[in-house]
Structure formats: C-alpha cells, structure tokens
Symmetry: C3
C-alpha cells in the first residue's frame, strides 16, 4: 500500500509542507528510514537527527515545522499522527470470514457472518460474537461469553464462561480472562474453596498483553473500563476495577477488590495490595508496592536505589538498625540541649 503525503493528510488532517506528491509505503525511525518511508520528530530535543535522516518525509510539530526542508506533515501531536499513519500503512492482514472447519462451535452460539473463527478454536454454547471479530487459532471461549464487534483475540487466548468483552478489544496470546479468583476460607487447617461466581466485564477499546491474567469476581464482577491498556504478564485479581484509559506496564500485580482510578499509569513490576482505592490520574513508579489507598492525584514511588553490590551491602546492613540510629541521634540532640 502506498500513499502520497497529500492522500495521508486528506485522511488524517495536518498541514503538508514541501512536495505533497511524495509516495510513502512504510514508517520508520529517523535513523532507519529511507526514501519511501515517513518518520517523525516528537521531541524538539532531537531536531539534529533531521539533518541526517534518509526519510522521504517527516511528521513534525508546529514548533519544528521549519527545521527541515524535507516533505513534511505538520501536526499538533506528531506522535499520535505517526501512530495513525502507521495504522493506515499496516492494516491487519485479511482474515477469512466464517468458521474454520477445524474449529468447534457449541449449541446456540450466535456468530456474526463477518466474524472469523480460526482452526482449533473452541466456542462454547450460547456464545455471542459480533461483526468483524477474529477469534485466533486454539482460543477457548467458554459458555455464554459475549464478545463485541471488531474484537481480535490472538491465538490461545482463554475466556472462561459468562465473561463480557467490549468492542475493539485486542487480547494477545496466552491471556486468560475469567479464571477463578484466589478465594479460600480456612477451616481446621485446610483451605476450603469459595466458588467464584462473578464475571470479568471489559469495556470497549481495551488491549490485553500476552500471558496477562484477569480473574473473575468472587461474588460481584471484575471490571476493566474502556480504553484501558494492559501490558504482558499482568495479574489482576478478583473484583478489581480499573478505571478508563489507565495504562499498566508489564508484570504488575493487583490484589483483590482494589479500585484504580481513571487515566492512571502504573510502572512495570509494581504492585497494589487488596481492598484499596487509587484516585484518578495517579502515576506509580516501577517496582513500587502501594500498601495504602491513594486519595490524591500525583506521582508515587518506592524504589530501592541500586548500587555496586559491595556498596549496597555496606549500606543495606544499617536498614536493620534505622530505629536504633534514630534513637542515637535523639540522645545526641538531648545531650546537646542539656549541655
């Protein structure tokens, strides 16, 4: 697929400067781009790269509009513009409509004729699958699951019974949606399983990374609101609610019944304990454990700074004596006052 700058701008907006007839077939970084490719500059700090790029065209902010003579599109948000150009140039490869003969579909399933069910997929009874949705190879969809339109499940996604997947969901391979939450009652030294009878309900425009797990609710539902983006290997426990447009990086664990606000950003390998409330617009650093509710937007962290092992060892040993250290300082202060 090839578009001229003029054709791109006609579809996506933006102002073309220079030769609007330049043909663009692909996107690339400024470093790697050659003449058939378009690149972008999102941060004026890297302006120097424009002089060296082999790109056929670039996407720039208003502030950088004159920083090059290359054919260019000026946009108020070059990075988002670039994302849209890339989507235009890299559409999903066409998938045949209908149910592959090596797929299995349960009784009463309602599958839109424009949907695609790949080989080795198994679709439970009473499942509903909307228009243009693609269920990849070897996916398992439990009974009575409802799947919206334009959903894309990559191969080997598992969705347990009764869950609800909103429109435009993308879920990557190995994601497990709706497994039992971790709920047990202790009786005489043994754990008794508490049936997990809630569902997972996912809003529209969500993306779920590879091998991420979202447990079904114990009694009520686990809820992922619209526009949430989850990276790989995230664990979301039962009855969690994640607010709209929140983005969570890889390997994060969120314990049961915690509610996370809208537009939060959570760094990789962070954790949030259970039964907490996290406000809207909270940013949590990587590797940070949140052990109490956060009621105020802002940025939070708890990272132990790394060092050479010998330095770390020398310093870390005192962490077991901080209270004593504090008392020693207090004694010195008192003796100073007394003197």
């Amino acid at each position: 697929m090839v578009y001229t700058l003029a054709q791109i701008a006609a579809r996506l907006g933006g102002r073309v400067l220079g030769d609007a007839g330049v043909e663009i077939a692909q996107v690339a970084t400024l470093e790697q781009a050659d003449s058939g490719k378009i690149s972008f500059l999102a941060n004026s700090k890297y302006r120097g790269k424009l002089a060296l790029t082999g790109a056929g065209a670039v996407i720039l902010s208003d502030a950088d509009a004159d920083a090059t003579d290359l054919p260019r599109i000026v946009s108020s948000n070059p990075y988002a513009y670039f994302a849209k150009v890339s989507a235009l140039l890299n559409p999903y490869s066409a998938v045949p409509c209908g149910v592959h003969p090596a797929a299995i579909v349960g009784k009463g399933a309602k599958i839109d004729p424009s949907a695609s069910i790949a080989a080795m997929a198994t679709i439970g009874e009473g499942v509903e699958i909307g228009a243009r949705s693609v269920i990849g190879e070897g996916c398992f969809i439990g009974d009575n699951v409802r799947i919206g339109v334009n959903v894309r499940l990559y191969p080997r996604v598992v969705v347990y019974h009764d869950c609800v997947l909103g429109d435009n969901l993308i879920a990557h391979s190995g994601a497990v949606i709706g497994a039992d939450g971790f709920g047990f009652a202790m009786e005489e030294g043994c754990w008794i399983k508490i049936p997990q009878i809630g569902r997972v309900v996912i809003g529209k425009d969500v993306e779920i990374g590879a091998n991420t797990t979202i447990d079904r609710g114990a009694l009520d539902d686990t809820v992922i609101e619209e526009g949430v983006k989850l990276d790989n290997q995230i664990q979301i426990a039962h009855n969690v609610r994640i607010g709209a447009h929140t983005a969570i990086a890889g390997c994060v664990g969120i314990a049961g019944s915690t509610t996370i606000g809208k537009r939060c950003q959570i760094g990789g390998s962070a954790g949030i304990l259970g039964h907490l409330q996290i406000a809207d617009d909270v940013v949590i650093a990587s590797f940070t454990l949140i052990g109490k509710s956060i009621h105020e937007a802002g940025s939070y962290a708890a990272i132990f700074p790394f060092g050479k092992t010998e330095d770390w060892r020398k310093n870390a040993v005192h962490l077991r004596h901080l209270d004593e250290m504090n008392r020693r300082i207090k004694r010195l202060e008192q003796s100073k006052q007394e003197s």
Copy 2:
C-alpha cells in the same frame, strides 16, 4: 437449584434461627443480596450492614446470632460455612463423560470411563486418568503422566511427561507443569544444558492458578504437598518442595531447591532465593525477598514504604550513604564521650 435453610443445615450443619423454610438460590454480599440470596457476616465489626441488607437469610457466628431478625444459620466459622453453601448452590456445570472425537489419545492410555477429555486435548502414551477427572479443551498431557480422581484441568493446561497429579487437583488455564528447570553448566563462556530428569509430583487437594509454572526436578522431583493453594503467575523452580496447606499469592517466584514448610502464607510478588529452608507457619509479606533460611514460625517483611515521588527521591538518596551516616553518628558519639 434452590434449597431451604432447613435443607442447607441438614447437609452442612449449623443452627437455624427464624424461618427455616426460606428458599435460597444463590449467595451474595450483604450489599448486593436480595430476597432469594444468602449472605454472611464473618467479622462483627461490620454488624451494621445487617440492618441494610436485602438478603433473604444470613450466616452468622454465635457472637452475632442475635444481631438481626433475618432468617439465619449460626455457625462457628461463618466464612467457611458460606464457602460450602456456595459450593452447594454453584456446582460445576455437567461435563459429558468420555473422549471428545476431536481429542487425541495415545497408545496405552488408561482413562476412567467417567472422566472427560475435551476437544483439542492431546493425551500422551501410557497416561492414567482417574474417575470423574476433566481434561479441558486443548490441554496437553505428556507420556506416562498419572492423574488422580476428580481432577479438573481447565483449557490449555500443559503437563509434561511423567508428572503425577493428585486427587481433586484444580489447575487453571495456561498453567505449565513439568517444564525443564533452569539448569546449565558453564564451559568456556557457553551454557551447557543439564537435562532435567526429575518430575513434578503434586499431592491431593491442590489448586494451581492461571499461567503458573512449576518446573520438573533436575535429578530428584519437585514436590507440591497436599492442600497447597497457588494463585496465578507463580514460578516454582526445580526441586522446590512446598509443604502441605501452604497458600501463595500471585506473581511469587521461588528459586530452585528451596523447601517451604507447612501452612505458610506468602504474599503477592514475594520471592524466595534458592537452597533455603523455610519453617512451618511462616507468613511472608508481599514484595518481600527472603534471602536466608527462616527457622522460626512468624511474620517476615521487607517492603520499601511508598511516598510521593518527590519525598521518596529526597529520602532515597540517603540510602547510598547510610554507612557514612552511621559513621558520622559514631563520630558525634565519640566526641561527646570525649568532651
């Protein structure tokens, strides 16, 4: 399925107060319950909720027996009682016995006629599967695996050859049991693989969460004792032994050859280094790395307290100077003594 309070108590014990003929179809929280539902109060602290609930009946401790006029069952352990009521009201949906025509079964496999092998499952040679066990869609069971009675493997569980799964095991989708442990010898700058010839041996009444991995032993076996409960995305390395009735929350990693005692509780995203011994009845906090053996029951932690990023930064910088700080205090103490 509907039961009266009297019928429930006849099966599960407990003392009925109020109308024993009330019909109950489902369980729910005090907040969400309506007249056909039964709820529970496990903690007297929340007694106030009883006045507001719409539940048709509740489960209470002796201490709270008179805290409401609602039809009720009094039990010494309301939460465990509730778990059993829920299991009664929410049985597994019936699964057809036998081998689905789209499953593949290897030579010499012995599958109990009451067991169920779902579509797309592949069962290796010489596998034994006990009565009423369910092997879900797309599971892979390696050669010579032995599976007890009443086991439930959800779709896409993988069990490598020769492993042993005890009675009543529940394993959720994406769990991988018996993959090779991480064992290599270094020779001239390259890693040489050490064949992993042990097995994974799992006792009865175990539950394994979605996408959890349990590696086979290098030479001897990896062992999960009876009653152990493992949440999602846990990694258990080769030759680990986990004691009976221990519960481990999500995202925990346990390194090779470590032995964990009975009735331990390990918080989410914690870690335990290799070749350690952890005593019985040890509780480990979330996000805590255990780097030495623990010989005494009790509660252990190592969490860096989170704060606003600007506060964290201001404080954390001193972690690289704790040893110096200690020396400065010592100097002050010495000069005080001298003065």
Copy 3:
C-alpha cells in the same frame, strides 16, 4: 541405554580411574545414586559426601581425583562433564517425522522432511522449518516465520508472524514470541495504538522458559543473541537486545529499547527500565531494579533486607524521614564545630 565408563570417556574425554568397565544407566545426586548411576562432585567442599554415596561411579576434578576409590572420571570441569553425560543417557524420546494429520499447514510452507509437526499445531503460510525441528502439540506459528534446524518448541508455544528462530532453540510451553509491544500515543485522553511492525529475531542455541514473553519490535527488531538462556515468566519488551550467552532467571521484566551486554547474569524478579545500556559481564542481584545504564562490568544489587515484621516496621518507618535524619546529624555536626 547403558554405557561403560570407558565408552563415556571415549565420547566425552576425561581420564578414567578405577574399573573402566562399570556400566552406567543414569545420573543422580551423590545422596540418591545407586550402583548403576554416576554422580559428580563439583565443589571440593562437599568431598565428605563421597564416602557415603552409593554411586557406581563419580565425576571429579583433578584436585579431587584421589578423594575416593570409586570408579571415576576426572575432568577439568566436572559439572559440565556431568551435563554431557546426562545428555548422553537422556536423549529426547524419538518423535515421528512429518506432519500429524491433525495439524494444519498453510500455503507455501516449507517443512524439512525430517521435521515433526505435532497434532493440533497450526503452521502459517510461507513458514520455513529446518531439519529435525519439532513443533509441539497445539503450537501456533504465524505466517512467514523462519525456524532453523534442530529447534524444539514444546506444546502451546506461540510465534507471531515474520519472527526468526535460530538453530537449536528450545522454547517451553506457553512462551509467546512476537506479540505486540506496548506502544501507544496519547491523544486527548485516549491511547492510540502504534502498530508494532518489527520482528523478534533469535540467534542459535537459545532456551526460552515456560510462559516467557518476548514482544516484537515497534519499528526495528527485538533481538536475542546466540546462547542466551531465559527462565520462565520473563517479560522482554519491544526493541530490547540481549547479548550473547546472557542468562536471566525467572520473573524478570526488561522494559523497551534496553540493550543488555554479553555474558550477563540477571537474578530472579529483577527489573531493568527502558532505553538503558547494560555493559557486558554485569551481574544483577534478584529483586533489583536497574534504573540507570551500567557502563562497567561487575555486580549490582538493591535488595531491602527482610526481618521479622515487627522489626521491619520499626525500622522502615524511618525511611520516610531519612532526609530529616541527615539534617539532624548535620545540625549536630555544626553545633559540635561551633562549640
């Protein structure tokens, strides 16, 4: 399979002492070995175990050559030698060549006749698979993937389109190679997906653990160089490069565009932030977050030392006041100087 010590030494080198005709059928630890088994002593510290072992033979270093009268093989690297003996005694079980009738192969795929494609596997269009490679049950191989010779994919591995897998790769069940990286542009409060058009390119002699995920590059490729060993449940983000012969333990997360040097060793549950450079021969402790580039070989750590929860609590509270503590010490020092 049984080998005499003489036959083993003829294949693998080393010096035989004692009865070279002893027959060996398996490897075992010194503690568990009986007469048909060979064990090893890698560390002279454990020499005392030699007197107690029931092993038929042992592998020893030159320094320990005379520490026992048992039939033995002397090697400069007993652990590596043991790995090779074990590989000799424990070859992969034979796998039938060819495509299982319950596998599906796309148009234009080129599969070497000595390769094996198991049941329920789906192979995309234009895929190339080299000699003696084994694609396990239920694997998914996307369009145009290139797989070298002697590769072994265990059941349920997913490889997205266009990725390249080098010779001798071992990938365990649940591994996902080539899923989309986590790339979004923010526009007016919503995340816009950035198509991930790079690949994953994996060198020869790599091993990938169960449920590990390696994302495809955003524009350029994600690269795993030769000889890299990855444990289970590792997350490698888009455009990461991992240098040759680096070994990474379980549950590690590596954020986007980071480059890791050759021969590094990274402990379990560690993390490395994005856009960093890690030098060759760096050792990173378990549970350590690396937040800045490391330009010098050596060992690095950032572990919070664990303790009894009551001790931890008493000490940890002061972490929020380290800056104040530092100021208090400074004031004491100043007042001392003034006095």
